[in-house]
Amino acid sequence: MPKDLPATIPVRPNRETPVVKPETVAPSPTSKAALLPPTSSPSNSAPALPAVTIQRTDLAVFVRFASRLASRDPMPALQCSFFSFDSAIVTDFDVALRARLPGARDIGVLVPVAVLKRCLLMHGASEVRIERAPSVFEHPFMFAIGDAFLPGHDPAEFPGVAALFPTTEPIARAKFATLESVLVAASNDETRKSFYSVLFPLCRNLAVATNGHVLHTTEILSGDEGDFLVPRNAIELVENIRKATKSTEVQADFFEPRSSCGSTGSRSPRVSRQRSFRLGKMSFPRGQNSSCASRSGVSSRRWTASERRSETDRAESVSAVSQRVSRSMARMRTVPR
């Protein structure tokens, strides 16, 4: 076999070759360059990418509740958190959560909440820095946490903040300590909206929930009027946050097409949360309604199956109309002590 066969062997780079860094040599005082005025040379560096630095504890509290909303939504953009000025927002279109995060800014990318959760588990630093990363063709919305480069999503796919959180004046207000005692009576059946909700008949200063077999009421404080039906999942989120923040009071603001609640007495002074959710219009079963009117004179009959069905259908149709026409929503806000 001839030993002089042609072959192309790539040249191994010499690793011992020193890296030559461009150095700036100061001209001698007597040279011509030293006598000339300094010229402004064009900079080749790219503009700085936006980044946020958030306290780890604040982000952990936000992610704890945001993951409950983001994890159950099939849309990728709604599995992400939207950062804006000193706040972060997640929503599943039914409930929206906004947490006040000092230092947060809009970085032009939606960050998946699951990624934030994993990063919180991995990194032990007291601060978390989230930085917008240069885009690549496959992933135009990249971001970096520490040394990890991760794909995000287009913030244009996220619903507008103004659509999630009302800025108008509330038409009614209420205060209550807890709705845990009422929540246990609400049904888990999401298809029956009137049973899957907590009713706030403010003229009677009550919060009411029922599943058709048991009805629980608790008194609330309100000087306004109006009947508001708030979905159970929103009240559950409020209760979870109230327990976690050890808040002693929840404040509720009801808007024309929306309602809002907030809790006071939080022991997490730096974190403030707002929840926004759709409301159904008042269409509670008549039997429960009459029992609300007189606490001692409860309706003395059961509802027939057809009666329940008609009430449920009416509730769903009204709720659907209100969502389609007026986008009925509610907002909850946690106010630090």
């Binding site: 077999h213 048991v214 009805l215 629980h216 009421t217 008194e219 003395s300 059961r302």
Partner: protein, 67 residues
């Protein structure tokens, strides 16, 4: 397990059934030491009231119970 409770206006032959989970959920939010259950008849809800909280639980009729 049987627990005897004091009751007024109650005929000894009458019985009333209540879903245990509903009764437990209705009673566990009562803060008072004494639990008062208001019973009208077997077609009316039981009333458990302890302000600011109140619960109404629909009873069940036992099989073979006297009307």
């Amino acid at each position: 397990m049987t627990t005897t409770i004091d009751a007024s206006g109650w005929d000894g032959d009458q019985s009333l059934g209540v879903n245990l989970t509903y009764l437990y959920n209705a009673a566990r939010f009562v803060r008072s030491d004494e639990l008062r259950i208001g019973i009208t008849n077997e077609e009316s809800p039981l009333l458990i009231e302890d302000r600011p909280y109140a619960a109404y639980v629909m009873p069940m009729r036992f099989e073979g119970a006297k009307r």
